[in-house]
Symmetry: C2
Subunit: 418 residues, 2 copies
């Protein structure tokens, strides 16, 4: 049965998932595997941002850059360079040329009904799906509706209404703008600066505060800023865009330059000219377009878990860690509970591992020294010169051997500098 067959009457499912990213998929698959009947609603690509617009394309772009950078630093191997055209082809391969039919098929064949369109709540346990063809259908959940809609980009007021790039354009890059201004200094900003620089853009970063990757240990920003500067990425701290003009801008599709020169007046009084601007000013849970009002709720209610028992938000949409692996972990925990299985409950929340794939990479597990101190832990800090640990891979083996130590008394702060 396809969704279209019953467009006029409400279809009934055990569980309705809004958003077919990795978190929604993980949950729907777990529920279907148990013999229940879940539906998943998606208005864009099945597989979500992670598969098409975030993790996967960004890592596809960054891995050859990392290898080329390694050849530059490593004696015994010829220096190699990135090939821009080949790099974009690799990205296209890794995102299956933005074709999600394989992913839809694997969900359907596992017993998950995929409903294409924009899903909105329309009452208790009810979801209305607005198809691209203009049609609307209603789904009902006998048990629960779970929101896994991910995030939506923050747009600083000064950029409101001006067509520029967001992170999806950056990972989908087709045109390489000669001059690119990046607004922001988080993981997306720093990773995109890395690949856009390698692709040939002259990158300028406008950073409101005084550091790159502010959530990281302070030394990370110093090291990364030095490397960016060596790579001719122009990092400007304590600088904001105060006025923006783009007379000829218009949307040309993802990854295409939006057209015409952008003029940016900065808080330092300078006017920058750019061929494109990337907004990497953070993302917030995508809760605004699912019509929470229909059940008398606001996004804030969802984030603070003031929801009826049949409604849940998981992953990025739930507002906790914006990390795919953490969201999948939540989805597995939720599925187990939903299915009445015994949970392998953790006595303490495990420390969160994460990596920013710049050159050098910034990898971390658990809290920073400051955060741990503020939380009342007695912190001991160790420093290891990574160059003295022979080989990163060997070191990784040792980290695995020691991994249990992190778990006996978390959080132990473990930073892996370049």
């Amino acid at each position: 049965m396809t969704a279209a067959d019953t467009a006029t009457t409400a279809q009934e499912f055990d569980l309705i998932v809004l958003g077919a990213g990795p978190i929604g998929e993980t949950l729907a698959l777990a529920v279907a595997k148990h013999g229940l009947n879940p539906a998943i609603v998606e208005h864009d690509l099945v597989g979500g941002d992670c598969a098409y617009y975030a993790c996967k394309p960004s890592k596809a772009l960054l891995r050859p850059i990392e290898v080329a950078a390694t050849t530059k630093h490593l004696r015994g191997v010829e220096t190699s360079h990135v090939g821009a055209d080949e790099l974009l082809k690799r990205r296209d391969e890794q995102v299956s040329n933005y074709d999600d039919s394989g992913q839809e098929e694997s969900l359907e064949s596992a017993g998950v009904t995929v409903v294409r369109g924009h899903g909105q709540l329309s009452g208790e346990r009810a979801v209305e799906v607005h198809g691209r063809d203009g049609g609307t259908q209603t789904l009902r959940a006998s048990r629960a509706v779970v929101v896994t809609t991910g995030t939506t980009p923050n747009i600083p007021p000064v950029f409101e209404g001006i067509p520029v790039w967001d992170s999806q354009d950056a990972t989908s890059v087709q045109d390489v703008p000669a001059r690119l201004v990046i607004i922001g200094a988080g993981a997306v900003a720093c990773e995109a600066a890395t690949w856009m620089n390698s692709l040939g853009s002259k990158v300028t970063m406008l950073v409101r505060e005084g550091a790159l990757l502010r959530g990281a240990e302070p030394f990370v920003s110093d090291i990364l800023t030095d490397h960016f500067s060596d790579a001719s990425i122009d990092v400007r701290f304590f600088t904001e865009a105060t006025q923006v003009q783009r007379p000829d801008g218009m949307d040309q599709g993802l990854g295409k330059v939006k057209g015409g020169t952008v003029s940016i007046r900065t808080s330092e009084g300078e006017t920058l000219q750019a061929d494109e601007v990337l907004l990497a000013t953070g993302r917030r849970p995508a809760l605004e377009s699912i019509n929470l009002e229909s059940i008398g709720l606001s996004p804030q209610d969802v984030l603070e878990q003031r929801t009826p028992g049949w409604l849940h938000a998981l992953g990025d949409a739930g507002g906790k860690h914006q990390l795919t692996h953490m969201g999948k972990y939540q989805a597995k925990q939720f599925a187990a509970e939903f299915l009445g299985q015994q949970l392998h409950e953790l006595s303490t929340e495990p420390p969160t591992p994460q990596v920013v794939f710049t050159d050098p990479q910034v990898a971390s597990v658990g809290l920073t020294e400051d955060t741990a101190t503020d939380a009342g832990y007695d912190v001991v800090t160790g420093e290891v010169d990574f160059a003295g640990v022979w080989e990163p891979v060997y070191y990784a083996t040792m980290l695995l051997a020691k991994a249990r130590l992190w778990l006996i008394k978390p959080p132990v702060v473990c930073w892996v500098p370049p």
Copy 2:
């Protein structure tokens, strides 16, 4: 006070360590840090095989080869090649040009007395050190003597008395033999085949049994053999050397070709000509030259822990895992016990992580499927296509996040195929 000052009278120490490899160093440093007075005896380089003849030079040689191999497989970066001369220079750098003065200094400055020479037991808690200058001195331990002498290569009878390479020659390679025959199929044989092939040797491997890396999952041998074959490494299974001649052979120093052509008659009836032979037929605990007879013991007594309370063997010399990180772990456990500190005793022995740095790399944690089944575990096997896991680094992050699962109910078999 240097050792030479008191050559005629016995010097007294709290602890005497035979062998200044990483295991001996770890132990001596822990004891010295506690205010006790340890001595460490070494006849070769302080730092041991790991620093000069095994882990460090082999990984120094293999890392650029790995990166060059990656450029071959990875779209988006130009193919790069290994530069043989630069590769050997990198190896020399990484082993500090075989100069151990820095390592001796750091031991001495930490309160460890370094005694140069060949150490042998000469009675209860007594050690005789035979210096290179022909002098002898006697050391006494008030508490314990710990043997951390590492391993010594096994020599198949057919090679007895014939000058050929052992693993130390292979890591110390100066001359690149045009035709190299490697006897063996373990980690040393496979890693050395990888770098000697990259340096330009035509490598033939004679393998007694039917697999490479016999301790690993069976599929590992199949994959590795295919890759070796693609790289023109000639692997001959079920083949042994039955007769060997090298009329003009003589020792020229580590890493130098021993001179003259070697003729090897194989069990298949063929005669191979080679410019060098590498024996990689395993190593056994180096317990034969420390004069155990003086206290009425044999090497077997030591391996089975039938020793008086003052005598211990740790690390490779103790005959357990031949892995530096496992030996260091033992040394830390021993030091804690010796110093009367509370041990963080593990309720079960942690699964052992290890890597063989071939192309592809072979990484493992814990038991193989067969070994686990034989040990009575109910084994579930999962297979993941590594190419489908996007990026090894991303996957490693996930492994770290999951690491605790290995520890809840070890052993979980975790194989990371290419």
